[in-house]
Protein backbone atom coordinates (compact mmCIF):
# COMPACT_ATOMS: atom_id res chain seq x y z
CA UNK A 1 0.00 0.00 0.00
CA UNK A 2 2.80 2.39 0.93
CA UNK A 3 4.57 1.51 -2.27
CA UNK A 4 1.46 2.49 -4.30
CA UNK A 5 1.24 5.76 -2.47
CA UNK A 6 4.90 6.54 -3.08
CA UNK A 7 4.45 5.65 -6.75
CA UNK A 8 1.42 7.91 -6.98
CA UNK A 9 3.29 10.81 -5.39
CA UNK A 10 6.24 10.22 -7.66
CA UNK A 11 3.98 10.26 -10.73
CA UNK A 12 2.31 13.43 -9.46
CA UNK A 13 5.71 15.07 -9.04
CA UNK A 14 6.71 14.03 -12.57
CA UNK A 15 3.47 15.49 -13.96
CA UNK A 16 4.07 18.64 -11.85
CA UNK A 17 7.62 19.09 -13.16
CA UNK A 18 6.30 18.99 -16.75
CA UNK A 19 3.97 21.94 -16.13
CA UNK A 20 4.91 25.53 -17.06
CA UNK A 21 6.60 27.51 -14.28
CA UNK A 22 3.74 29.94 -13.59
CA UNK A 23 1.32 26.97 -13.24
CA UNK A 24 3.77 25.34 -10.82
CA UNK A 25 3.90 28.55 -8.73
CA UNK A 26 0.11 28.87 -8.79
CA UNK A 27 -0.32 25.23 -7.74
CA UNK A 28 2.22 25.68 -4.93
CA UNK A 29 0.26 28.68 -3.67
CA UNK A 30 -3.03 26.77 -3.85
CA UNK A 31 -1.58 23.83 -1.88
CA UNK A 32 -0.10 26.16 0.77
CA UNK A 33 -3.39 28.07 1.06
CA UNK A 34 -5.43 24.86 1.44
CA UNK A 35 -2.98 23.51 4.04
CA UNK A 36 -3.01 26.78 5.99
CA UNK A 37 -6.82 26.93 5.93
CA UNK A 38 -7.10 23.34 7.19
CA UNK A 39 -4.55 24.08 9.92
CA UNK A 40 -6.35 27.27 10.98
CA UNK A 41 -9.73 25.51 11.09
CA UNK A 42 -8.18 22.70 13.09
CA UNK A 43 -6.66 25.13 15.56
CA UNK A 44 -9.96 27.02 15.93
CA UNK A 45 -11.91 23.81 16.47
CA UNK A 46 -9.38 22.57 19.02
CA UNK A 47 -9.50 25.87 20.91
CA UNK A 48 -13.29 25.90 20.87
CA UNK A 49 -13.38 22.33 22.12
CA UNK A 50 -11.01 23.18 24.96
CA UNK A 51 -13.12 26.24 25.91
CA UNK A 52 -16.26 24.08 25.80
CA UNK A 53 -14.68 21.47 28.08
CA UNK A 54 -13.44 24.19 30.44
CA UNK A 55 -16.85 25.87 30.59
CA UNK A 56 -18.51 22.54 31.26
CA UNK A 57 -16.09 21.86 34.07
CA UNK A 58 -16.61 25.34 35.51
CA UNK A 59 -20.39 24.94 35.30
CA UNK A 60 -20.11 21.66 37.17
CA UNK A 61 -17.67 22.81 39.83
CA UNK A 62 -18.82 26.39 40.46
CA UNK A 63 -21.93 25.46 42.50
CA UNK A 64 -19.78 23.16 44.68
CA UNK A 65 -17.25 25.93 45.29
CA UNK A 66 -19.93 28.53 45.95
CA UNK A 67 -21.59 26.19 48.41
CA UNK A 68 -18.27 25.73 50.21
CA UNK A 69 -17.71 29.50 50.44
CA UNK A 70 -21.30 30.14 51.49
CA UNK A 71 -21.24 27.48 54.23
CA UNK A 72 -17.73 28.08 55.51
CA UNK A 73 -17.44 31.85 55.13
CA UNK A 74 -20.63 33.79 54.45
CA UNK A 75 -22.86 31.79 56.78
CA UNK A 76 -20.14 30.93 59.29
CA UNK A 77 -21.75 30.76 62.72
CA UNK A 78 -18.78 32.51 64.36
CA UNK A 79 -19.08 35.65 62.25
CA UNK A 80 -20.11 38.75 64.18
CA UNK A 81 -19.31 37.23 67.55
CA UNK A 82 -16.09 39.17 68.13
CA UNK A 83 -14.00 36.02 67.67
CA UNK A 84 -10.64 36.78 65.98
CA UNK A 85 -10.65 35.48 62.40
CA UNK A 86 -7.51 33.39 63.03
CA UNK A 87 -9.36 31.43 65.69
CA UNK A 88 -12.36 30.61 63.53
CA UNK A 89 -12.11 27.00 62.37
CA UNK A 90 -13.57 25.61 59.15
CA UNK A 91 -15.24 22.24 58.76
CA UNK A 92 -12.21 20.06 58.01
CA UNK A 93 -14.33 17.41 56.30
CA UNK A 94 -15.69 19.95 53.82
CA UNK A 95 -12.22 21.27 53.05
CA UNK A 96 -10.69 17.83 52.58
CA UNK A 97 -13.13 16.84 49.83
CA UNK A 98 -11.20 14.99 47.10
CA UNK A 99 -12.52 17.30 44.43
CA UNK A 100 -10.39 20.16 45.81
CA UNK A 101 -7.22 18.22 45.05
CA UNK A 102 -7.63 18.55 41.29
CA UNK A 103 -5.50 21.41 39.87
CA UNK A 104 -8.24 22.91 37.69
CA UNK A 105 -10.69 22.92 40.60
CA UNK A 106 -8.10 24.62 42.80
CA UNK A 107 -7.56 27.27 40.12
CA UNK A 108 -11.29 27.95 39.85
CA UNK A 109 -11.44 28.07 43.66
CA UNK A 110 -8.66 30.67 43.75
CA UNK A 111 -10.41 32.78 41.11
CA UNK A 112 -13.73 32.57 42.92
CA UNK A 113 -12.13 33.53 46.24
CA UNK A 114 -10.50 36.55 44.57
CA UNK A 115 -13.86 37.53 43.12
CA UNK A 116 -15.42 37.37 46.59
CA UNK A 117 -12.52 39.32 48.12
CA UNK A 118 -13.12 42.10 45.61
CA UNK A 119 -16.66 42.41 46.92
CA UNK A 120 -16.16 41.84 50.63
CA UNK A 121 -13.81 43.26 53.22
CA UNK A 122 -13.84 43.15 56.99
CA UNK A 123 -14.47 39.85 58.73
CA UNK A 124 -15.74 38.09 55.59
CA UNK A 125 -12.71 39.29 53.61
CA UNK A 126 -10.36 38.02 56.31
CA UNK A 127 -12.15 34.68 56.47
CA UNK A 128 -11.84 34.29 52.69
CA UNK A 129 -8.11 34.81 53.07
CA UNK A 130 -7.99 32.23 55.85
CA UNK A 131 -9.81 29.73 53.64
CA UNK A 132 -7.22 30.37 50.90
CA UNK A 133 -4.40 29.69 53.35
CA UNK A 134 -6.05 26.72 55.08
CA UNK A 135 -6.57 25.00 51.73
CA UNK A 136 -2.90 25.56 50.88
CA UNK A 137 -3.86 27.47 47.76
CA UNK A 138 -0.94 29.84 48.23
CA UNK A 139 1.33 26.90 47.35
CA UNK A 140 -0.37 26.72 43.96
CA UNK A 141 0.21 30.44 43.46
CA UNK A 142 3.87 30.20 44.49
CA UNK A 143 4.32 27.25 42.11
CA UNK A 144 3.04 29.46 39.31
CA UNK A 145 5.65 32.09 40.23
CA UNK A 146 8.33 29.58 39.22
CA UNK A 147 6.82 29.11 35.77
CA UNK A 148 8.83 30.18 32.74
CA UNK A 149 5.75 31.78 31.18
CA UNK A 150 5.25 35.44 32.08
CA UNK A 151 1.42 35.20 31.95
CA UNK A 152 1.46 32.53 34.67
CA UNK A 153 3.84 34.65 36.74
CA UNK A 154 1.50 37.63 36.47
CA UNK A 155 -1.41 35.41 37.48
CA UNK A 156 0.51 34.27 40.55
CA UNK A 157 1.54 37.81 41.53
CA UNK A 158 -2.06 39.04 41.21
CA UNK A 159 -3.42 36.09 43.22
CA UNK A 160 -0.96 36.58 46.05
CA UNK A 161 -1.55 40.33 46.09
CA UNK A 162 -5.32 39.96 46.15
CA UNK A 163 -5.03 37.51 49.01
CA UNK A 164 -2.54 39.74 50.85
CA UNK A 165 0.15 37.03 51.03
CA UNK A 166 3.64 38.48 51.36
CA UNK A 167 6.21 37.55 48.72
CA UNK A 168 9.90 37.58 49.60
CA UNK A 169 12.02 40.40 48.14
CA UNK A 170 14.31 37.84 46.51
CA UNK A 171 11.39 36.58 44.45
CA UNK A 172 9.56 39.79 43.61
CA UNK A 173 12.27 42.45 43.31
CA UNK A 174 13.85 40.99 40.14
CA UNK A 175 10.37 40.89 38.57
CA UNK A 176 9.91 44.63 39.22
CA UNK A 177 12.73 45.19 36.74
CA UNK A 178 11.69 42.56 34.21
CA UNK A 179 12.05 43.36 30.53
CA UNK A 180 8.43 42.32 30.03
CA UNK A 181 6.34 45.49 30.62
CA UNK A 182 3.21 43.63 31.82
CA UNK A 183 5.09 41.49 34.33
CA UNK A 184 7.11 44.50 35.47
CA UNK A 185 3.96 46.55 36.11
CA UNK A 186 2.20 43.70 37.95
CA UNK A 187 5.26 43.07 40.15
CA UNK A 188 5.68 46.77 40.97
CA UNK A 189 2.02 47.14 41.87
CA UNK A 190 2.23 44.01 44.02
CA UNK A 191 5.37 45.25 45.75
CA UNK A 192 3.70 48.54 46.72
CA UNK A 193 0.66 46.74 48.09
CA UNK A 194 2.49 43.99 49.95
CA UNK A 195 5.59 45.68 51.32
CA UNK A 196 4.71 47.19 54.68
CA UNK A 197 7.97 49.01 55.45
CA UNK A 198 9.55 50.03 52.18
CA UNK A 199 6.94 49.87 49.41
CA UNK A 200 9.10 51.90 47.03
CA UNK A 201 12.35 50.00 47.47
CA UNK A 202 12.21 48.83 43.86
CA UNK A 203 12.84 52.42 42.73
CA UNK A 204 16.46 51.83 43.86
CA UNK A 205 17.03 49.09 41.31
CA UNK A 206 14.65 50.24 38.56
CA UNK A 207 16.50 50.55 35.28
CA UNK A 208 13.47 49.86 33.09
CA UNK A 209 11.17 52.88 32.54
CA UNK A 210 7.91 53.54 34.39
CA UNK A 211 5.54 53.91 31.46
CA UNK A 212 2.82 56.61 31.68
CA UNK A 213 0.06 54.04 32.05
CA UNK A 214 2.07 52.19 34.75
CA UNK A 215 2.49 55.50 36.59
CA UNK A 216 -1.25 56.03 36.49
CA UNK A 217 -1.95 52.52 37.82
CA UNK A 218 0.72 52.89 40.49
CA UNK A 219 -0.62 56.26 41.56
CA UNK A 220 -4.07 54.74 41.97
CA UNK A 221 -2.66 51.93 44.08
CA UNK A 222 -0.53 54.25 46.23
CA UNK A 223 -3.45 56.54 46.95
CA UNK A 224 -5.94 53.77 47.65
CA UNK A 225 -3.81 51.26 49.61
CA UNK A 226 -4.37 51.55 53.32
CA UNK A 227 -1.50 52.08 55.79
CA UNK A 228 1.13 52.54 53.12
CA UNK A 229 4.46 53.91 54.40
CA UNK A 230 5.12 57.07 52.39
CA UNK A 231 8.85 57.86 52.17
CA UNK A 232 10.54 61.14 51.32
CA UNK A 233 10.63 60.95 47.53
CA UNK A 234 13.43 63.52 47.28
CA UNK A 235 15.81 60.59 47.83
CA UNK A 236 15.15 59.31 44.30
CA UNK A 237 14.97 62.83 42.85
CA UNK A 238 18.55 63.33 44.00
CA UNK A 239 20.07 59.93 43.30
CA UNK A 240 18.06 57.95 40.75
CA UNK A 241 19.48 57.70 37.26
CA UNK A 242 16.12 56.51 35.92
CA UNK A 243 14.40 59.55 34.42
CA UNK A 244 10.90 58.09 34.61
CA UNK A 245 11.37 57.30 38.32
CA UNK A 246 12.47 60.89 39.01
CA UNK A 247 9.54 62.26 37.01
CA UNK A 248 7.10 60.03 38.91
CA UNK A 249 8.65 60.99 42.25
CA UNK A 250 8.16 64.69 41.40
CA UNK A 251 4.45 64.00 40.93
CA UNK A 252 4.31 62.14 44.25
CA UNK A 253 6.19 64.93 46.04
CA UNK A 254 3.58 67.40 44.79
CA UNK A 255 0.71 65.05 45.69
CA UNK A 256 1.93 64.48 49.26
CA UNK A 257 3.04 68.12 49.61
CA UNK A 258 6.53 67.12 50.76
CA UNK A 259 7.95 70.56 51.54
CA UNK A 260 11.23 69.05 52.73
CA UNK A 261 11.89 67.94 49.14
CA UNK A 262 12.01 71.53 47.79
CA UNK A 263 15.87 71.83 47.83
CA UNK A 264 16.23 68.52 45.94
CA UNK A 265 13.62 69.59 43.38
CA UNK A 266 15.33 72.98 42.96
CA UNK A 267 18.53 71.16 42.05
CA UNK A 268 16.72 69.80 39.00
CA UNK A 269 16.36 73.35 37.65
CA UNK A 270 20.03 73.01 36.61
CA UNK A 271 19.38 69.76 34.74
CA UNK A 272 20.24 69.66 31.04
CA UNK A 273 16.98 67.94 30.06
CA UNK A 274 14.32 70.64 29.59
CA UNK A 275 11.44 68.17 30.07
CA UNK A 276 12.92 67.39 33.47
CA UNK A 277 13.21 71.07 34.29
CA UNK A 278 9.58 71.59 33.28
CA UNK A 279 8.51 68.74 35.60
CA UNK A 280 10.53 70.25 38.45
CA UNK A 281 8.97 73.70 37.86
CA UNK A 282 5.46 72.20 37.90
CA UNK A 283 6.31 70.44 41.17
CA UNK A 284 7.67 73.65 42.74
CA UNK A 285 4.52 75.49 41.71
CA UNK A 286 2.30 72.86 43.30
CA UNK A 287 4.41 73.00 46.46
CA UNK A 288 4.01 76.82 46.46
CA UNK A 289 7.79 77.01 46.89
CA UNK A 290 8.35 80.73 47.42
CA UNK A 291 12.10 80.12 47.83
CA UNK A 292 12.30 78.88 44.25
CA UNK A 293 10.76 82.00 42.69
CA UNK A 294 13.99 83.98 42.57
CA UNK A 295 15.86 81.17 40.82
CA UNK A 296 13.04 80.58 38.36
CA UNK A 297 13.02 84.26 37.39
CA UNK A 298 16.82 84.21 37.08
CA UNK A 299 16.86 81.27 34.66
CA UNK A 300 13.69 82.34 32.82
CA UNK A 301 15.34 84.01 29.81
CA UNK A 302 17.51 80.99 29.02
CA UNK A 303 14.61 78.50 28.96
CA UNK A 304 12.73 77.01 26.04
CA UNK A 305 9.07 77.96 25.64
CA UNK A 306 7.62 74.99 27.58
CA UNK A 307 9.73 75.81 30.65
CA UNK A 308 8.91 79.53 30.41
CA UNK A 309 5.20 78.76 30.35
CA UNK A 310 5.57 76.43 33.35
CA UNK A 311 7.52 79.11 35.25
CA UNK A 312 4.69 81.59 34.69
CA UNK A 313 2.13 79.03 35.82
CA UNK A 314 4.22 78.22 38.90
CA UNK A 315 4.49 81.92 39.76
CA UNK A 316 0.73 82.16 39.59
CA UNK A 317 0.42 79.20 41.95
CA UNK A 318 3.02 80.54 44.40
CA UNK A 319 1.58 84.08 44.17
CA UNK A 320 4.02 85.72 46.55
CA UNK A 321 3.49 89.13 44.96
CA UNK A 322 7.24 89.79 44.71
CA UNK A 323 7.42 89.40 40.95
CA UNK A 324 4.33 91.24 39.71
CA UNK A 325 6.56 93.65 37.79
CA UNK A 326 8.25 90.73 36.03
CA UNK A 327 4.87 89.28 35.10
CA UNK A 328 3.70 92.70 33.89
CA UNK A 329 6.76 93.03 31.64
CA UNK A 330 6.20 89.57 30.17
CA UNK A 331 2.55 90.34 29.56
CA UNK A 332 3.20 93.67 27.87
CA UNK A 333 6.29 92.94 25.83
CA UNK A 334 6.31 89.26 24.94
CA UNK A 335 5.57 88.50 21.31
CA UNK A 336 4.36 84.99 22.18
CA UNK A 337 0.66 84.53 22.78
CA UNK A 338 1.06 81.66 25.31
CA UNK A 339 3.48 83.73 27.37
CA UNK A 340 1.11 86.70 27.48
CA UNK A 341 -1.84 84.48 28.34
CA UNK A 342 0.00 82.71 31.19
CA UNK A 343 1.50 85.94 32.51
CA UNK A 344 -1.98 87.48 32.68
CA UNK A 345 -3.36 84.40 34.38
CA UNK A 346 -0.48 84.42 36.90
CA UNK A 347 -1.18 88.08 37.78
CA UNK A 348 -4.91 87.39 38.21
CA UNK A 349 -4.23 84.30 40.33
CA UNK A 350 -2.43 86.47 42.92
CA UNK A 351 -5.85 87.89 43.81
CA UNK A 352 -4.44 90.62 46.06
CA UNK A 353 -5.12 94.36 46.19
CA UNK A 354 -1.92 95.05 44.23
CA UNK A 355 -2.65 92.45 41.58
CA UNK A 356 -6.20 93.76 41.10
CA UNK A 357 -4.86 97.31 40.68
CA UNK A 358 -2.31 96.01 38.20
CA UNK A 359 -5.02 94.28 36.17
CA UNK A 360 -7.01 97.52 36.04
CA UNK A 361 -3.89 99.42 35.00
CA UNK A 362 -3.11 96.89 32.28
CA UNK A 363 -6.66 97.04 30.96
CA UNK A 364 -6.30 100.79 30.48
CA UNK A 365 -2.82 100.90 29.00
CA UNK A 366 -2.67 97.83 26.75
CA UNK A 367 -3.94 97.15 23.23
CA UNK A 368 -7.15 95.39 22.26
CA UNK A 369 -5.78 91.83 21.94
CA UNK A 370 -4.19 91.97 25.40
CA UNK A 371 -7.44 93.33 26.83
CA UNK A 372 -9.21 90.32 25.38
CA UNK A 373 -6.64 88.02 26.98
CA UNK A 374 -7.24 89.63 30.39
CA UNK A 375 -11.01 89.37 30.00
CA UNK A 376 -10.63 85.72 29.02
CA UNK A 377 -8.45 84.99 32.07
CA UNK A 378 -10.78 86.87 34.41
CA UNK A 379 -13.71 84.65 33.44
CA UNK A 380 -13.91 81.96 36.16
CA UNK A 381 -15.87 79.67 33.86
CA UNK A 382 -12.97 79.38 31.38
CA UNK A 383 -10.20 77.15 32.61
CA UNK A 384 -7.89 77.05 29.60
Amino acid sequence: MWKDLVDLLFQAYEQFSLLPLFIEIALAFIIIAIAATIFAYGAILYKRYRTYVHEKRVAFISPIIEELITDQVLLNENLGKDIPTEEIEFDKEALSNKVYKKPFVRQILIETLIQYRKNFRGEVGELLRKLYIDMDLQKDSFAKMKSMRWERKIKAVVELTQMDISISDVTILPLTNSTNPSLRAAARNAYIQLSKNEPFKFFDIATEPLLPWDQLEMFKIITTTKDIAIPNFSRWVSYSSNKSVVSFCLKLIAHYDQQSAIPAVMELLNNKDHYFRADAIICLGKLSAEVAEEKMVRIYNHQPLNCQVEILKAMGAIASGKYLEFLKTEFLYSSNFDIRMNAARAIIKHNTQNSRLLVEELMEMTHEENQLIIKHCLNPLIKY
Binding site: L74, L75, Q115, N119, F120, R121, V124
Partner: protein
Protein backbone atom coordinates in the same frame (compact mmCIF):
# COMPACT_ATOMS: atom_id res chain seq x y z
CA UNK B 1 -51.43 64.17 50.33
CA UNK B 2 -53.05 61.99 47.74
CA UNK B 3 -50.26 59.41 47.82
CA UNK B 4 -50.84 58.60 51.49
CA UNK B 5 -54.51 57.77 51.13
CA UNK B 6 -56.60 54.59 50.98
CA UNK B 7 -55.24 51.12 50.29
CA UNK B 8 -51.78 52.39 49.75
CA UNK B 9 -51.66 53.77 53.29
CA UNK B 10 -52.83 50.45 54.67
CA UNK B 11 -50.10 48.63 52.76
CA UNK B 12 -47.44 50.95 54.16
CA UNK B 13 -48.78 50.47 57.66
CA UNK B 14 -48.74 46.71 57.30
CA UNK B 15 -45.25 46.80 55.88
CA UNK B 16 -44.04 49.06 58.72
CA UNK B 17 -45.61 46.85 61.37
CA UNK B 18 -43.90 43.85 59.86
CA UNK B 19 -40.57 45.64 59.99
CA UNK B 20 -41.07 46.92 63.54
CA UNK B 21 -41.99 43.52 64.84
CA UNK B 22 -39.19 41.43 63.48
CA UNK B 23 -36.89 43.64 61.40
CA UNK B 24 -37.65 41.09 58.72
CA UNK B 25 -38.37 42.59 55.38
CA UNK B 26 -38.87 41.99 51.72
CA UNK B 27 -35.66 42.95 49.95
CA UNK B 28 -34.85 43.19 46.26
CA UNK B 29 -31.17 42.88 45.37
CA UNK B 30 -30.24 44.23 41.93
CA UNK B 31 -26.73 43.24 40.92
CA UNK B 32 -25.18 42.05 37.66
CA UNK B 33 -22.26 40.22 39.29
CA UNK B 34 -23.54 36.71 39.88
CA UNK B 35 -21.18 36.01 42.77
CA UNK B 36 -22.06 39.19 44.62
CA UNK B 37 -25.77 38.64 43.99
CA UNK B 38 -25.72 35.15 45.50
CA UNK B 39 -23.49 36.26 48.37
CA UNK B 40 -25.76 39.15 49.40
CA UNK B 41 -28.82 36.94 49.04
CA UNK B 42 -27.31 34.31 51.34
CA UNK B 43 -26.19 36.86 53.92
CA UNK B 44 -29.58 38.58 54.04
CA UNK B 45 -31.51 35.32 54.19
CA UNK B 46 -29.34 34.31 57.14
CA UNK B 47 -30.38 37.58 58.77
CA UNK B 48 -34.01 36.56 58.33
CA UNK B 49 -35.06 38.64 55.34
CA UNK B 50 -37.10 37.61 52.34
CA UNK B 51 -34.80 38.19 49.38
CA UNK B 52 -35.53 38.45 45.67
CA UNK B 53 -32.88 39.11 43.06
CA UNK B 54 -32.57 40.80 39.68
CA UNK B 55 -29.59 40.65 37.37
CA UNK B 56 -30.16 43.86 35.42
CA UNK B 57 -32.25 47.00 35.28
CA UNK B 58 -34.90 45.47 33.03
CA UNK B 59 -35.53 42.50 35.34
CA UNK B 60 -35.48 44.88 38.30
CA UNK B 61 -38.24 47.06 36.85
CA UNK B 62 -40.39 43.99 36.16
CA UNK B 63 -39.98 42.78 39.74
CA UNK B 64 -40.57 46.24 41.18
CA UNK B 65 -43.81 46.50 39.22
CA UNK B 66 -45.08 43.16 40.44
CA UNK B 67 -44.28 43.25 44.14
CA UNK B 68 -43.88 45.51 47.16
CA UNK B 69 -40.45 45.75 48.76
CA UNK B 70 -39.26 47.29 51.98
CA UNK B 71 -35.70 47.75 50.82
CA UNK B 72 -34.00 47.75 47.43
CA UNK B 73 -30.25 47.19 47.23
CA UNK B 74 -28.93 48.21 43.85
CA UNK B 75 -25.63 48.26 42.02
CA UNK B 76 -24.92 51.27 39.78
CA UNK B 77 -23.42 49.93 36.60
CA UNK B 78 -25.72 47.32 35.10
CA UNK B 79 -27.05 46.39 31.67
CA UNK B 80 -30.32 47.91 30.32
CA UNK B 81 -30.79 50.45 33.14
CA UNK B 82 -28.27 51.66 35.66
CA UNK B 83 -28.78 51.98 39.40
CA UNK B 84 -29.43 55.71 39.27
CA UNK B 85 -32.34 55.10 36.90
CA UNK B 86 -33.73 52.54 39.34
CA UNK B 87 -33.46 55.06 42.19
CA UNK B 88 -35.06 57.92 40.27
CA UNK B 89 -37.87 55.75 38.92
CA UNK B 90 -38.66 54.43 42.40
CA UNK B 91 -38.72 57.93 43.87
CA UNK B 92 -40.89 59.22 41.05
CA UNK B 93 -43.48 56.52 41.65
CA UNK B 94 -45.97 57.75 44.26
CA UNK B 95 -46.82 54.21 45.34
CA UNK B 96 -43.26 53.04 45.74
CA UNK B 97 -41.41 56.13 46.91
CA UNK B 98 -41.47 54.85 50.52
CA UNK B 99 -39.08 51.98 49.64
CA UNK B 100 -35.69 52.19 51.35
CA UNK B 101 -32.88 52.29 48.82
CA UNK B 102 -29.27 51.32 49.41
CA UNK B 103 -26.83 51.81 46.58
CA UNK B 104 -23.98 49.34 46.67
CA UNK B 105 -21.29 50.03 44.10
CA UNK B 106 -17.58 50.08 43.49
CA UNK B 107 -17.93 53.59 42.05
CA UNK B 108 -16.50 55.86 44.69
CA UNK B 109 -16.31 59.30 43.11
CA UNK B 110 -17.98 62.19 44.85
CA UNK B 111 -20.17 63.15 41.88
CA UNK B 112 -21.83 59.74 41.57
CA UNK B 113 -22.38 59.38 45.31
CA UNK B 114 -23.89 62.87 45.51
CA UNK B 115 -26.06 62.16 42.49
CA UNK B 116 -27.33 58.93 44.06
CA UNK B 117 -28.31 60.76 47.26
CA UNK B 118 -29.79 63.65 45.28
CA UNK B 119 -32.03 61.25 43.39
CA UNK B 120 -33.26 59.78 46.64
CA UNK B 121 -30.99 56.93 47.77
CA UNK B 122 -31.07 56.44 51.55
CA UNK B 123 -27.60 54.99 51.87
CA UNK B 124 -24.47 54.31 49.85
CA UNK B 125 -22.08 51.41 50.38
CA UNK B 126 -18.82 51.27 48.51
CA UNK B 127 -17.53 47.88 47.44
CA UNK B 128 -15.78 45.93 48.87
CA UNK B 129 -18.48 45.96 51.52
CA UNK B 130 -18.58 44.59 55.05
CA UNK B 131 -21.36 42.06 55.51
CA UNK B 132 -22.03 43.17 59.10
CA UNK B 133 -22.23 46.81 58.05
CA UNK B 134 -24.75 45.99 55.33
CA UNK B 135 -27.01 44.17 57.80
CA UNK B 136 -26.83 47.00 60.35
CA UNK B 137 -27.59 49.62 57.71
CA UNK B 138 -30.61 47.66 56.53
CA UNK B 139 -31.91 47.34 60.09
CA UNK B 140 -31.38 51.05 60.71
CA UNK B 141 -33.09 51.94 57.47
CA UNK B 142 -36.08 49.77 58.36
CA UNK B 143 -36.25 51.23 61.86
CA UNK B 144 -36.10 54.82 60.54
CA UNK B 145 -38.70 54.06 57.91
CA UNK B 146 -41.11 52.54 60.38
CA UNK B 147 -40.62 55.49 62.77
CA UNK B 148 -41.37 57.93 59.95
CA UNK B 149 -44.43 55.99 58.91
CA UNK B 150 -45.69 55.92 62.49
CA UNK B 151 -45.36 59.69 62.56
CA UNK B 152 -47.29 60.01 59.31
CA UNK B 153 -50.02 57.71 60.68
CA UNK B 154 -50.29 59.81 63.84
CA UNK B 155 -50.59 63.03 61.83
CA UNK B 156 -53.42 61.48 59.83
Amino acid sequence: MHEFGGGFHLRIKQSAEKAINRYMSNILVIEDDDIMLKAIRNILRKDGHEVLTAKDGKEAFEKLDNEQYDVVITDLMMPYANGLEVVSRLRANTEKRHVGIIVCSSVGNEETITEAFRLGADDYLKKPIMAGELMIRIRKLLANRSANLKLVTKKK
